[in-house]
Amino acid sequence: MFTEFLQHIVNGLIIGAVVALPALGLTLIFSVLGFVNFSIAAQMTVGGYAGWLVNSHLHWSLIPALAVAFAASGAIGIIGDRLALLPMRRKSTAHTSLMVAIVSIALNLALENAMRFGFGSDLNSYDLPVSRDLVLGEIHVGPQQINNLGVALLLAIVLAAFFSATRMGKAMRAVADNPDLARLKGIDPQRLSNLATFIGMGLAGIGGALLAVDTSVDPSTGSRLLLIVFAASVLGGLTSLPGAVLGALLIGILSDVSLTVISPVYQSATAFITILLVLLVRPNGLFAGNSGVRK
């Protein structure tokens, strides 16, 4: 019983670590640009396909494939943003941010179907060596899952360094914290929003590629996880980067541990129930307030 519970926690942590990447991307984009970008789901799928293409056709190994996933999702993210979302952001009405969010849903649909057109609806698996599970006590962990966990952790550390040590990172946190004040200090919001979109979508792409490595990629890979990614980001308060990571780990563990009490078919409902309960108690998420700048 206890080992079963522990196994669920380990599985949840691994899933949570991978979900943390797109959740970080979503949070970053929301912090800097001020709207919820639903097209992050399709960008996860873009990353999954980009990595799969170079891995299965050109036989690149995992790390270069992930780099390709990052670059492809980031680039397509910027193109989509320029074509579909930027013109909407320029309009200033009372509900601009929600209008942009709705357009991003349409963008998500367009991207997903562009991929379905090109690749079909089949499941595509990465071509990586298969190895036996590691067994620690009675806990089973796949080596690939350990890799995923490692990559996610490494990226989180790189990101933390970027935001605390570099000028760009600090500027981004400044914009997230107070856009008007940041502009007064001469920070160009347009350049930063491009960078935020690139990094955010790139992170989503890596997340999608890691998920695809663990299972497979098809046009709906990202959309299936949209809710859980959003739940992670919302738990963190939508503007807190550490909050997004903690939210993702929490959601990952909760949804896996919930399997001990509910039927697996309702696993994805746990994300919804969790955010509903959390938002009831704390309408701005668990970690809202510690946005961007360290006080």
Partner: protein, 319 residues
């Protein structure tokens, strides 16, 4: 061909009811409801199951309205403190949970096999005239909904609702019962979506979870924005545009040679998405723009500055 057109005409009426629900909640109430398809499903299943349990169709439809509306009001109550962004995400999740329940509670909903053999009203009695009758019935409901909504929305309730939409705090300061306004609006909007589901269920006589995917919500957003998402007439016209668009892309995509079935479907959905993006960019107010609301002028002194919100404020004397 006639039966195809009749079916499509009826379907346009179903979409019109859904769009009216969206215009009520989103356009007039200012709450982003991405869970529209969830209420549509609740209405469809409620009506189909209640009718199968022995209630007459009229009662089942009324029940579908009330059940979907109550679920909507409950969701609104639970999410009352949330900002727009959060509400969008939570309502999207709500629709997914409804679909999960419809897929997995086999004892109630038949699971992914769905509910089949749903009775249509007077089908046996009317015979060949039935499609005409159902088309008329559907559009009568649409007309009824438009009349009722326009009465509600031009009443003081409607004004308070729009005040709440434009600035919740100001409306609250002015003494408007913001939460109550939101709950009632959500009840009516979700109820209309539920009624649309009921009409759809008895039209096709078969419903399954596959019919209630998030894509449907996007279609209705397209219909509402194409027509003008704050206007009732916009919702109705937008629904007809949506249906023409959906059907013409079906024929256009099939006409492209050398495409697989999956590709045809993806071309359709792709073009719908691109059209929605284009409309939002070029003409976000849609075909019928939001009417600027003028306060009534003082009858005695024409040409003077209008007094705000006639009746409730004392007119400021001019020098």
């Amino acid at each position: 061909m006639t039966s195809y057109l009749l079916f499509m005409g009826t379907l346009a009426g179903v979409y019109a009811l859904l769009s009216l629900g969206l215009v009520t909640i989103w356009g007039q109430g200012g709450m982003v409801n991405l869970g529209l398809v969830g209420f549509y499903a609740v209405g469809a299943y409620s009506s189909a199951l209640l009718n199968a349990a022995g209630l007459t169709i009229a009662v089942a439809w009324a029940a579908a309205f009330i059940i979907a509306g109550t679920v909507g009001a409950a969701l609104c109550l639970v999410t009352r403190t949330l900002r727009g962004d959060y509400l969008a995400i939570v309502s999207l999740g709500f629709a997914e949970v409804i679909r999960l329940i419809a897929t997995n509670e086999k004892w109630l909903t038949g699971g992914s096999d769905g509910v089949s053999g749903i009775h249509a009203p007077l089908k046996a009695e009317l015979g060949a005239a039935f499609p005409w009758f159902y088309l008329g019935l559907t559009w009568t409901l649409v007309a009824l909904a438009v009349v009722c909504l326009s009465r509600i929305l031009s009443s003081p309730f409607g004004r308070a609702l729009r005040a709440q939409r434009d600035d919740e705090q100001v409306a609250a300061v002015a003494g408007k019962p913001v939460l109550q306004l939101k709950l009632k609006t959500f009840f009516v909007g979700a109820g209309l979506s539920g009624l649309a589901g009921a009409v759809y269920a008895h039209l096709t006589s078969f419903i399954s979870p596959d019919g209630f995917v998030p894509l449907m919500t996007i279609y209705i957003f397209l219909a509402a924005t194409a027509g003008g998402y704050t206007r009732l007439i916009g919702a109705v016209v937008g629904s007809v545009i949506l249906l023409v668009l959906l059907e013409s892309t079906r024929f256009a995509a099939v006409a492209i040679p050398g495409l697989s079935a999956v590709q045809v479907a993806s071309v359709r959905e792709f073009s719908i998405a691109v059209i929605l993006i284009a409309i939002m960019q070029v003409r976000p107010q849609g075909l019928f723009a939001s009417k600027p609301q003028r306060a009534p002028r003082l009858a005695s002194k024409p040409g003077e500055a209008p007094a705000a919100n006639g009746g409730t404020t004392v007119p400021i004397p001019h020098h």
